[in-house]
Amino acid sequence: MNDERHTIVRVINVKKDFPLGRQTVRVLKGVDLEIMAGEYISIMGPSGSGKSTLFNMIGGLDKPTDGKVFIDEVDISQLDAYELAWLRNRKIGYIFQTFNLIPVMTALENVTLPMTFAGMHGDDAQDKGIELLKLVGLGERFQHKPLELSGGQQQRVAIARSLANDPAIILADEPTGNLDLSTGAEIIELLKMLSAERGVTVISATHDYKMLNVSDRVVWIRDGMIDRIENRDELDISVGGITEVEGAPA
């Protein structure tokens, strides 16, 4: 997959204003970013930095006030509701901090739901769902409801669900935020494995420093702008003194 690296996400001079009472607050002040297919990117930054906003733009969940976001060279602000739904269904897999599985459904049904939306037949979807759950290490527990699973297991189901329609991009919003250290590390490991083996682009917004070790690049956001972008080789030097990095959580 490395021979034809193409840009999967292109963010061009994106600005975003939010109304706050009578004022408007400019949360993003012109962000340019290019993400290549198959990359593992972490977006880091303190809360309130515009990290989540940028993340939502990339995911097609929010539209920029100014500027453009291209996913696979398609300007997503040009898409209608139907095309956006299609984009979310096939191109992007979402992973949330709070797992957000549908509590009414079993693990397997949660995983097969996006496939149902995609028009896949029931039996095919079941097979693929079980295969995906095995991939994330939950082969035997597919008949359990989310509430019968631990946090880490729920997040694994969510990861399996995000892979349902073989998306090009996985968007992970603080995927380890609600997990303890070791479970979080396992989830990061799993994401890294998926990115390496399946060539999925993983983009995660996080303030978990464990993410740094596996990221190909880290985008640091401060005050609505990109502070700096570091490649992994540059990062390794600073891993030892990670607490000295600017913007460390208080």
Binding site: N56, Q78, R90, V104, T116, A118, G119, D173
Partner: protein, 231 residues
């Protein structure tokens, strides 16, 4: 043009169609399960419908019973009915709802509708993140709307059907106690059945009407709120 671009690299899997879809069978299954999980709440919604519709059905079937007796018994029966408090027009031989009765029926249906709107609004608010996730997974607005309408239709059928049957039974019992066997012998069964059907239909309509606003609210919700709800 954008469709073309996506088509080129998407749809690699087998048996995947271009369209975003949710088959009816699956929709019914999801709605049914959502109801079952919140059984207690949905039963409260249903019970308000049962009460209102059974009252409507009770009143309607009562009229049928009275009309039957009037037809069979002539003027003498008319006097008995008048004494029993029915609004009888002796000239035309018709029995009508009294104005007061009509108002009470309308009021009870109104109160019931407001109750349904309230309960469904709660159910939508409770499921905001669930709806948002569904949309993140590619659900269309129309699918969300459909799920809520289906839920309401199931609640409506159950509540209105049960209520109408209940009201009919009570009305027949009341007729039996008041007028004896005459109530049964003279009853125009077809009309009574029509009344039960009408009451059921009215209940179903109310249930769907009550869910309309909450469902549209759910439909219009932007998926970003799923992420934001927790932060």
């Amino acid at each position: 043009m954008s469709k073309k671009v996506f088509d080129a690299s998407g749809g690699s899997g087998q048996g995947i169609q271009r369209a975003i879809s949710l088959p009816w069978g699956k929709s019914v299954e999801i709605s049914f399960r959502s109801l079952r999980v919140r059984l207690f709440r949905s039963m409260i919604t249903v019970s308000s419908l049962v009460l209102a519709v059974s009252f409507l059905s009770f009143v309607l079937v009562n009229l049928d019973v009275a009309a039957g007796i009037l037809k069979a018994g002539g003027k003498a029966a008319g006097k008995i009915l008048l004494a029993a408090g029915y609004d009888v027009d002796l000239e035309t031989g018709r029995v009508a709802m009294s104005a007061k009765e009509r108002w009470i029926v309308i009021l009870s249906l109104l109160v019931c509708t407001v109750g349904i709107v309230n309960a469904q609004l709660m159910s939508v608010t409770e499921r905001f993140s669930e709806i948002g996730v569904m949309k993140c997974l590619g659900a269309l607005d129309s699918m969300v709307l459909r799920l809520f309408l289906l839920e309401a239709a199931m609640q409506g059928l159950l509540g209105a059907g049960g209520g109408a049957a209940l009201g009919c039974i009570f009305s027949l019992l009341a007729g039996l106690i008041r007028f004896g066997g005459k109530a049964f012998n003279a009853l125009p069964w077809l009309d009574a059945l029509g009344s039960v059907g009408l009451a059921t239909l009215a209940g179903l309509t109310l249930s769907l009407l009550g869910v309309l606003y909450p469902a549209i609210l759910a439909m219009r919700m932007r998926p970003i709120n799923a992420l934001r709800a927790e932060h």
